[in-house]
């Protein structure tokens, strides 16, 4: 056995992700290393055997998520990690996990793209891929951490949500957060709130759920119940069906299980200096720290600026942002892409507040200076 982990360590965001996953109960990881997510596979390979888990390097990204789904069906909390091009390859099986209701955490450490792009540079270009990357209507939970400690905490939360709602959860990191090193407290499992899936099967029907509930109870493969898992719409027994009523109800239920529990742990957002702000900045993930610094500096210069940060990016905290926007003259969206969250923000603000944009796609990080310049320009 390995020596006991120190509680406080200098870690990369990617390493903190692995420690958070282990604390949440991850015991299986399958991956195909890709910059800037490689350290997640590396640390998983070292740490999983130390806690009785299994690490598998697969032949590609598709096989990686497939292996992780298989392990999850067998009752083991599982994760896979990748970046841009690999995330594209995982999309089909993310849809499969959604309809087959298999808990899994997929980490995408975003890098500059499309294709091989700038593998070592920051980007937030996969925001819409996380939402719409797999085909068909489907709900999505995507979470964006902004620091090394936050990565630890949010990875724990990602596993909890995957288990509670039997759904894939996307941990949407970026190169800035994945590769930076900071002090991190590795909180042991007995001090954390940990959720495990309900495996008490109702009436021997794997996809049956209790009165007033939306999430089926399923036993693990190998625990005695034989049942069918398919990507086709299926009935309570798990067998494919063409019955339009069942298909409609099932599609509704899968969407609703996320919508209805949105306020029971799924939604999360952070506000900084928003109380009296008349200029708001929307940001997430790696840009958060530049925005915080810009807010502090701009406040010293006399601007009433605040920060609104969706921690859970999907589903988006729409109502919360609209409520805040009523007090704002200006709303600035800051992100490392051509305006993916901007599109969402414009859609929900509907022209009531002036929405402005800072987007950067050349592979360098947005700086506080650039944000302050934008604040000043708009108020000249």
């Amino acid at each position: 056995m390995a020596e006991k982990q120190k509680r406080f360590q200098l870690l990369q965001g990617n390493e903190a992700c692995v420690e958070g996953a282990l604390a949440a109960g991850m015991r299986f990881f399958a991956g195909y290393p890709i910059t800037p997510s490689t350290e997640i596979a590396e640390r998983s390979a070292v740490r999983l055997p130390q806690v009785g888990g299994k690490f598998m390097q697969m032949e590609d990204e598709i096989a990686s998520i497939a292996a992780a789904l298989g392990a999850s069906v067998a009752g083991t909390k599982s994760m896979t990690a990748t970046s841009g091009p690999g995330f594209s390859l995982k999309q089909e099986n993310i849809g499969y996990a959604t309809i087959a209701e298999i808990p899994i955490v997929i980490v995408d450490v975003m890098r500059s793209g499309p294709s091989t792009g700038l593998p070592t540079s920051p980007s937030q270009g996969d925001v819409m891929q996380a939402k719409w990357g797999t085909h068909g209507d489907h709900p999505v939970i995507a979470i964006c951490p902004c620091s090394v400690q936050d990565t630890f905490n949010q990875t724990v939360r990602a596993f909890n949500l995957a288990e509670r709602f039997r759904t894939p959860v996307i941990l949407l990191m970026d190169e800035i957060v994945g590769h930076m090193r900071e002090g991190c407290e590795i909180i042991p499992p007995d001090e954390l709130e940990i959720h495990n899936r309900n495996t008490h099967m109702i009436n021997s029907m794997p996809y049956a759920f209790g009165e007033g509930q939306y999430v089926p109870h399923m036993t693990s493969f190998g625990d005695g119940h034989l049942y069918n898992i398919t990507g086709l719409f299926h009935d309570e027994a798990g067998f494919p069906t063409n019955d339009n009523q069942i298909a409609g109800e099932e599609n509704d239920r899968i969407m609703k299980k996320i919508q209805i529990y949105k306020y029971s742990g799924i939604l999360d957002y952070e506000e900084y200096q928003m109380e009296d702000a008349d200029i708001g900045i929307v940001c997430y993930g790696g840009t958060t720290r530049a925005v915080r610094e810009a807010v502090d500096e701009a406040r010293d210069m006399g601007y009433n600026v605040g920060m609104f940060r969706p921690v859970t990016l999907w589903p988006f905290p729409e109502y919360e942002l609209v409520s805040r926007a009523r007090q704002l003259r200006r709303l600035i969206v800051v992100e490392h892409n051509y305006g993916q969250v901007l599109l969402t923000v414009e859609g929900i603000i509907k022209g009531d507040t002036k929405v402005e944009f800072i987007g950067k796609v050349n592979g360098t990080a947005i700086s506080p200076t650039e944000i302050i310049k934008k604040i000043e320009e708009g108020d000249e």
């Binding site: 200098l10 910059t35 593998p119 070592t120 540079s121 800035i176 590769h179 930076m180 090193r181 900071e182 002090g183 790696g286 720290r289 530049a290 915080r292 610094e293 502090d296 360098t364 990080a365 700086s367 506080p368 200076t369």
Partner: protein
Amino acid sequence: MAKEQLRFTGSGGQGVILGTIIMAEAAFLDGKQVVQSQSYGPEARGGLCKAETIVDDKPINYTKIETPTFLLSLSQNSFDKFSKKLAPGAAIIVDDSVRVPERISQKHEVLQLPIIQSAIDVIGKKVSANIIACGAVNEALHLASQKSMEEAVLAHIPRGTEALNLKAVRLGAKLVQDRRKTE
């Protein structure tokens, strides 16, 4: 302490990223707030490399550096590229193979040290230049205690190279002490 913003630069393979990790680890062991980050290209060796460590008593917001308070360069082209924007009064340590133009040496304290040559002649391993540099940087800036500095070095090197790397980090400190004595 005032917020220190260290930028280490060199060619890929010279170990400048590891250098900033060791500096961050040493300050972290001393209870400081730290953020370490790097930027590099997809090449395994030879590309320009820039790595940064921020050390402060207070929580650190922005994780990158806009104007470094300290610059280390182990190669001429990395110095030329990354020496353009420095904080007023920023200190500089370069390998003595790097030429520093007068417009920079007039405004900043510059220590030109035989880092790479000492790695070859004294330690017998060119790859230990980054550890020598760490020792020199810490002696110049007093970011971390000697104990934490050595613990940080030992935490990030391959097993079996402990004696050699401790010798390297102490040699770095001595290069700075000797230089300051002669000035």
